[in-house]
Symmetry: C2
Subunit: 90 residues, 2 copies
DNA sequence: CGCGATTCTTACCTGCAGGTGAGTCCCCCA
DNA sequence: TGGGGGACTCACCTGCAGGTAAGAATCGCG
């Protein structure tokens, strides 16, 4: 569920309860293509990690935030980060 | 460093300080090909996660175990597992 | 002498993850 | 009336992760 080049990058932008719209994510991750961003967001959504909120406005506005379960992933990933930082000079 | 289809599978077999030789890993993970097993072990070794011990015998014997740093990855992955188990019925 | 065990290597192939560029739909507003 | 902003969607392509099969080095043993 977390594999792939972009999933974690997206998640790190959403941790802390941040709510971002599509174009904000695009700007936050300049290297990603629109197609990939959508694709990964849809997968994260169908896995129940992020929630997608469409505001029926014109121009359209779509916001993404973590679900409670998605948010609870944060400490586990933090543990991984701390492990990586403890790496003996390889 | 942990990406790919096999890295985590291999690691889970080595957690708990287990020391396994090549052929034991082959048997423990029947679905993996020899090429992949070697390739992934070499990468894990060059990343400092597993240690490779060659016994100069005939027939050759090669053992793999986690480094201290590799072993310290266990709790972090456990946190991930627990997160996965907490998943609301998707 | 030739076979088998063990660990690794090499060559080749396939499928899919990921990249690129263009097109679509909708409505407001100048 | 058409241009522009926003969020996609589509068709196509490339590269690499991963799979398959065979070969190679070593020596002890029947």
């Amino acid at each position: 569920m977390l594999e792939g080049k972009w999933k974690l990058v997206i998640l790190f932008h959403l941790f802390g309860g941040r709510v971002l719209r599509f174009s904000e994510l695009e700007r936050a991750i300049p290297a990603i293509s629109q197609k990939m961003l959508i694709q990964q967001l849809r997968q994260l959504e169908s896995d129940g990690i992020v929630r997608r909120i469409v505001h029926p406005e014109v121009p359209p506005r779509v916001e993404y935030r973590l679900t409670d379960w998605g948010q609870s992933l944060c400490p586990a990933l933090d543990a991984l980060l701390q492990w990586a930082e403890r790496r003996p000079d390889a």
